[in-house]
């Protein structure tokens, strides 16, 4: 019987399988950041252990860094204004120095969001098992890799043993067939899938995205799609390897070269589900019917298309659903049945591991070009995903497009996606955000988040409300 992509990746990393279903899988790449690692390093120290394979690790600070260009221009960690954050950032440096873990530090141009940096550097390669103490590690599955988030205890476990104690997940394939309409991006596909299966729809599953609409995506788009797998409950999302994957990976700093490349390429080309592979679950979606998406509530599954309306109590099937709707509308300050296109926004955030790659910057700039920030929009933050994305965008003049429109061009980091640093949505303010979570308080206490694509965020920034990007040209 044929095997799925996940089956192949699992089989290639299985160290030991116990009768009780628990298994030990080998981890090829471990990405580390400042927030979920200090307690793991402390655990190693207390037990007198050391990392098993240093070259499996790459560390970078991202979650808790300032994106204020002035603060970042100051040399070294002494420039970090927030004292608690400075300690956390310095702790990452100290731990990497103490244990000889490869580190890209805050001053390095390659610094960026761990899920942007990894693929850029070729630290992410097809066929790898990749873990990180961050749920959006699913991003790296776009390369035909098995990648997922882990907790801090598991970070310590991987450092000490190079393995993960786990259990095999179910195979779930989502097939997105057909040609996406103009203005519909990978983010819209992801939100539409989550809207259909729900935020726990793929719990316990490895989610493979397939179909013509997925194959026609760039690597940036595939990363956006796999990034959001966790918002559908799947720890891991993945896309089969094809020529698009190989073209992206080739010549990355950490990618193999010469004979090793030939050998790797031959293996990587086998990383797809066999035609006779059997999936535990399968869902086929017509991608050509998907419109640009906007979330209206406090869970990514509370989503509809730009032409849609906020649901009403009559749309809910049970008491739990009605309670959730009531609480979400109260928190979001919205009315049942209102049109999404009638909702004005106060802030716009373009960034995060979901949408801060060069293609995202280009998509947002294409909508903004020739326009100004709308008067009712107080603030627009554009936060490139890494120093390299920032440099590329500046070389293309995109930073000027944003700043001339009255928007802020920031330094790289996770920023307002989780609002650990100073970038926050103020209480009661409404933000169009290209990030991945619209939970209560996620972007700041009392902040109201609407998840959208970069093009939709840019359209909201220049029109002051949710607007189909195609309608911006006509302004």
């Amino acid at each position: 019987m044929g095997r799925t992509l996940y089956d192949k990746l699992w089989d290639a990393h299985l160290v030991d399988q116990q009768d009780d279903g628990s298994a030990l899988i080998y981890i090829d790449r471990h990405l580390i950041h400042e927030v979920t690692s200090p307690q793991a390093f402390e655990g190693l120290r207390l037990a007198g252990r050391s990392p098993r394979r240093l070259n499996a690790n790459v560390a970078v600070p991202d979650h808790n860094v300032s994106t204020d260009p002035n603060e970042r221009a100051l040399a070294g960690y002494a420039g970090v204004a927030d004292a608690t954050s400075r300690v956390q950032l310095e702790t990452l440096n100290d731990n990497c120095n103490d244990f000889n873990i490869p580190l890209i530090d805050l001053a390095d141009q390659r610094q960026g969001i761990v899920h942007v940096m990894g693929p850029e550097q070729g630290a992410t390669l097809p066929g790898m098992t990749i873990v990180c103490g961050d749920s959006h590690t699913s991003t790296h599955g776009a390369f035909g890799a098995l990648a997922h988030g882990i907790g801090t205890s598991e970070v310590e476990h991987v450092l000490a043993t190079q393995c993960l104690l786990t259990k095999k997940m179910d195979n779930f394939r989502v097939v997105l067939d057909g040609e996406a309409q103009p203005g519909v991006t990978a983010k819209d596909l992801a939100l539409a899938v989550i809207g259909q299966i729900g935020t726990a729809g793929a719990t316990g599953c490895a989610l493979e995205f397939a179909g013509s609409a997925v194959r026609s995506l760039t690597m940036e788009g595939r990363m956006t799609l796999c990034n959001m797998a966790i918002e559908a409950g799947a720890r891991a999302g993945m896309v089969a390897v094809d020529q698009v994957t190989l073209d992206y990976v080739k010549s990355r700093p950490m990618a193999p070269t010469g004979e090793q490349w030939e050998m790797a390429e031959k293996y990587w080309k086998t990383l797809h589900s066999d035609s006779d592979a059997v999936f535990d679950r399968e869902l086929v979606i017509d991608a050509s019917a998907i419109e640009p998406q906007v979330t209206w509530g406090t869970s990514p599954e509370m989503v509809t298309s730009i032409g849609g309306t906020v649901p009403t109590m009559d749309d809910m099937q049970d008491e739990t659903g009605r309670k959730s709707l009531e609480r979400a509308l109260d928190y979001m300050g919205l009315q049942q049945g209102m049109k999404l296109s009638d909702i004005p926004v106060d802030m716009v955030f373009i960034g995060s591991c979901t949408n801060a790659r060069i293609e995202d910057m280009r998509a947002a700039a294409a909508v903004v070009r020739g326009h100004k920030k709308a008067d009712n929009v107080e603030r627009v933050l554009v936060v490139p995903g890494s120093g390299l994305v920032k440099a590329q965008a500046e070389a293309e003049g995109l930073d000027k497009v944003f700043t001339e429109a009255g928007m802020e061009w920031r330094a790289p980091g996770c920023s307002m996606c989780l609002a650990m640093n100073a970038d926050k949505v103020e209480p009661g303010k409404r933000c169009a955000s290209t990030s991945n979570r619209n939970f209560e308080g996620r972007q700041g206490f009392g902040g109201r988040t609407h998840l959208v694509s970069p093009a939709m965020a840019a359209a909201a920034a220049v029109t002051g409300r949710f607007t189909h990007p195609a309608n911006v040209e006509a302004l």
């Binding site: 990393h13 160290v15 116990q18 009780d20 279903g21 628990s22 030990l24 080998y26 927030v35 979920t36 200090p38 307690q39 402390e42 394979r53 240093l54 070259n55 790459v58 808790n64 608690t84 954050s85 300690v87 956390q88 890209i104 390095d108 390659r110 630290a123 390669l125 961050d134 749920s135 907790g151 801090t152 205890s153 598991e154 043993t161 190079q162 393995c163 104690l165 259990k167 935020t199 726990a200 719990t203 409950g233 720890r235 193999p256 090793q260 490349w261 050998m263 790797a264 739990t320 309670k323 959730s324 609480r327 989780l418 650990m420 979570r437 939970f439 209560e440 308080g441 996620r442 206490f445």
Partner: protein, 216 residues
């Protein structure tokens, strides 16, 4: 890790679905480099009426009297009752630490998010999946009267309700074993050192590029 065998305690209800880890422990507390001290900020945005201030001690903050964890009838509760997909979102293990440090030993829900469930087992917190009908019944019982006391026996995989009724449950055998014995995962894995080394050797032979030196 503290072992979990039999636990008796009071149930505190949190009647909402999709409780995410941002809600359990908001991001501002993730700046800590320690594993302890998260208890006072469990459900911070639901529990307090005034926002967190780094300079002010938690004890001086204004509690939200309408939040179940603050209600006198649930004081001292060690079992949290909630709805489906508990612990979704961020992988932050701080969420489990906050629950445990507050005094919660078990969360009961119809379903859990994968990463949270994994994390819970590592810190001696039992994520207990019970049928929706049983969860409904527990919600009704804990809303009425003086509160519900449960006894959870992980060894026999049985919950005894305050009225004496018993409900069976099932926990992954490996996780159950580790919790019962309070075993440390790393210690268990290191016992399989030979298997890891053998795998590693073969892996390096077939995919040598994975073992290249990281030159930054």
């Amino acid at each position: 890790m503290e072992a979990f065998r039999v636990h008796s305690g009071l149930v505190v209800p949190l009647d909402r679905a999709n409780v995410d880890t941002d809600l359990i422990i908001p991001k501002q507390f993730l700046k800590s480099i320690k594993r302890t001290g998260f208890g006072p900020n469990l459900f911070d945005e639901l529990r307090y009426l005034d926002p967190f201030d780094e300079e002010a001690p938690s004890a001086t903050r204004k509690l939200n009297p309408e939040f179940s964890l603050n209600m006198p009838k649930y004081a001292g509760a060690s079992i949290l009752l909630s709805r489906e997909n508990f612990g979704c979102g961020s992988s932050r293990e701080h969420a489990v630490w906050a629950l445990v440090q507050f005094g919660i030993r078990c969360v009961i829900a119809p379903s859990f998010a994968d990463i949270f469930k994994n994390n819970a087992f590592k810190s001696g917190l039992l994520p207990l999946e019970l049928d929706e009908a049983v969860v409904d019944r527990l919600f009704q019982q804990s809303a009425n009267g003086e509160g519900v006391n449960l006894t959870i026996d992980l060894d026999s995989q049985q919950v005894t309700l305050s009225d004496g009724a018993q409900v069976d449950f099932s926990v992954d055998p490996f996780r159950r074993h580790c919790l019962l014995e309070g075993l440390d995962d790393i210690g268990i894995t290191l016992q399989r050192e030979d298997a890891i080394t053998a795998f590693e050797r073969n892996h390096q032979r077939t995919q040598p590029w994975l073992f290249n030196e990281v030159k930054l």
